[in-house]
């Protein structure tokens, strides 16, 4: 990474005679072995992580399916049924999808008790869950990073508040607090905002810990010595060094939010009728389990699929950013 020539491209190697002897040793190493920047290394490790790649595919597939099938905003829909229109029951509302011989049929996921297309309903629920999860993941990461960085760098009252607020969450279960604020929130965007205000503490503590050790390092002292302001030090010198922690934590926050939101909706404090969400679908049809099991299986498998793939992605990212944790020989 310290080289100023391109090792992967021998023609560009400087052939200045005065330094040729110095380079000759380095050239031998360089020619046989490519060298990579930090970011390239991380990316390579990530793309080689098989579990993470499969999960990325699954997640993208589910997301694209959820947003294009029944449409969202400007995105047109290609599925010919909606999640609010009831139709005549086909085959007692059983799923028409078959693996062998493969066919999708009229209602691939079946129909609910009043004949609504369950595929459209599940896709609508998935949309809601994904929107809430990604918004919370983004917002709580921003809040957590900022507060963590300020607490770690300036210490003082921000740090005191941060630590006490985290202590609060040991005493009050997150789900309980979320239920109370979720009940106040109307509409998924408010819900997402409220949940973000509750879930930033974990990341804030992590970032604070890293900033505490980074601010004692030489490059920060050097930046201070030449008169760099505190905010510039935080954003240009310290935070880029914590990017691994932040990205991994954001991913895991998304997975946790999917579960939190669906649990809240299940209890009736999250997304509420007439809108729908995966948790709400399960809650509505939990008693239909014996008679119409598919009403129960699809949304549950959807939640499981999303949460599992996001968790695996987070694991792959963690391995990519911090290979020491995973393998000793790599």
């Amino acid at each position: 990474m310290t080289d100023n020539h391109r090792p992967d491209d021998p023609e560009h190697t400087p052939a200045a005679s005065s330094v040729e002897e110095v380079y000759s040793v380095e050239k031998q190493i360089d020619l046989s072995q490519k060298s990579y920047s930090q970011g390239q290394l991380v990316r390579r490790r990530f793309f080689r992580h098989r579990g993470a790649m499969v999960s990325l595919f699954v997640l993208v597939f589910i997301t694209v399916m959820a947003f294009t099938s029944i449409g969202y905003g400007l995105i047109p829909s290609w599925w010919d049924k909606t999640f609010y229109d009831a139709g005549a029951a086909v085959d007692g509302g059983r799923p028409t999808m078959q693996l062998w011989p493969f066919q999708i049929g009229e209602h691939p996921f079946g129909q609910d008790t009043i004949g609504k297309d369950y595929f459209a309903l599940t896709m609508r629920g998935t949309q809601r869950s994904l929107i809430v999860a990604f918004t919370v993941g983004l917002l709580s990461t921003v809040i957590g990073t900022l507060i963590g960085a300020i607490a770690g760098f300036f210490r003082g009252w921000v740090e005191a508040i941060l630590m006490r607020v985290t202590d609060l969450f040991i005493i009050i279960p997150l789900l309980v607090l979320a239920a109370v604020v979720g009940k106040m929130a109307s509409g998924i965007w408010w819900l997402a905002l409220m949940l973000s205000l509750l879930t930033w503490t974990g990341l804030a503590r992590l970032v604070r810990g890293e900033v505490l050790s980074l601010r004692e390092r030489e490059f920060v002292t050097a930046a201070e010595a030449i008169g760099t302001g505190p905010w510039r030090i935080i954003f240009k010198h310290i935070l880029p060094n914590t990017i691994g922690t932040i990205i991994v934590s954001a991913t895991l926050a998304i997975a946790a939010t999917i579960l939190l939101e669906s649990a809240l909706s299940f209890l009736g404090y999250g997304v509420r009728a007439p809108d729908t969400s995966l948790g709400l679908l399960i809650s509505t049809y939990q008693n239909a389990f014996l008679t119409r099991p598919w009403l129960f299986w699809w949304p549950g498998l959807m939640i499981l699929g999303i949460a599992l793939s996001v968790n695996f992605l987070g694991d792959g990212l963690r391995d990519a950013f911090d290979p020491r944790q995973n393998r000793t020989a790599d």
Partner: protein
Amino acid sequence: MLQFILRRIAISALIMFLGSVLMYVLTINSGDPLQDLRESRAENRDQLMAARTENMGLDDPWWQRYLGWFTGVSRCFVLQCDLGTARDGADVNNLLLSSAGASLRLVTIATFLAIFIGVALGVLSAIRQYSGFDYTITFAAFLFYSLPVFWAAVLLKDFGAIRFNNWIADPAVSITVTALVALLFALAVASVLGGSLRRQVVTGLVTFAVVFGLVFAFDQVQWWVQPALGLPLIIVGAVAALGFMLVMTVGLSNRKVTYAGLVTIALGLVSYFVTGPILDDPSGWLVILALTAVTVVVGLAVGWVMGGYERRTAMTVSVGTALGMAFLIFMDKLLRGWAGFLELAGNRPVSTIGENRIIPERFEGDFWEGIFNWGVQLVLPTIVLTLISIASYSRYTRGSMLETINQDYIRTARSKGLSDRVVFTKHALRNALIPITTIVAFDFASLLGGAVITETIFGWRGLGAMFRLGLDTVDPNPVMAYYLVAGGAAVIMNMLADIAYASLDPRIRR
């Protein structure tokens, strides 16, 4: 140490106070407490609304309402708690008393089970890193970690309650299922014990034969409706407990300690016959507690007499073995109550609703059948809660254990010739457990939150139900009662974790 604990208590009290203000304010602002009346068509609607406003103090500012609640609660210090009344006039004190027991029992059992199983799995998968067992545990942990609690609970209710009831009416295990169960056990045991391929195959085959034989024999004698351990299984279990204690402490080759353990087992066998009549129908838990105390004393005495210069270890091993054996005898007596309980429950032992199979007032069974009455209802919610906690504990333990194994002092321990057993149990495990203690506190809070969901699904009238009642009616008193118990329990768990931390890590004992 005392100062350390006192400081912790002071901080916890402050946090409890701040948390209560936050909860109170959020709850009273979470909706419209008069909603149902506004929509009603009753003639005396306005009168009802005025009465409720008066009762709940809806016109008072929030701090005045909070102060009213706080004054009532602060009387707890003179043992005259007043948690207020719920919206419908019910006394919250009574509400709390009737609901707290079952919930706390559920959460506490789930916590200890999760810690025990999760830590054991984590340690095993760290020791057998990159084995099939490790990959299986890792994948299972991810799966359970991503599992929606409420979904899993509904699933379990179907398979564990409804289908189990159908099965127990005519219990029979087919040969295929028997073989499958035995195969699973064989794979697990073989990959945990490890060794060369040849050794793994042999362990696998032996395990398969033993488990297959056991399940087949159980099926033949209709064990599922008339279970018991019997003397042979108690002896086998006690010897296994002794083996475990020895491996964890001094190893199997230490004669003195081994003999101490064997004498304990012999005394345990004598006590099995002596205490038999008492245990057949004990009058209550006090008898069990007293017998446990006797067990510990006997264990200590045997270790003291037999231990010689290794007195301390011998005492630990004897007490451990004695307790293990006492537990087995307890289980034996308990299982013998199953047949009677089945009869009482009309052959459908698991109910999908409620924290007791038969309401206690109408229950007529003896002590052992009484345990089944609530124990059976406890199993499914506990499994749901435990599965998810096990996932996080096993992951953390694995990571922590791997980090410890790579430390320099472990290499030192190995290089001076200590056996794997000593390195793992004495040097690695103790240090790897230190970070786990801090997770316990967080996990306990999330378990209490998870209990809200499981109680809803399994229809318990527990703390979670009380919380939901309060939140749905925008009534702060039940919500705050829930908060007091949950917060208090979390503070106590936290304190225990801190003390455990201090005893495991001498550096922070100041």
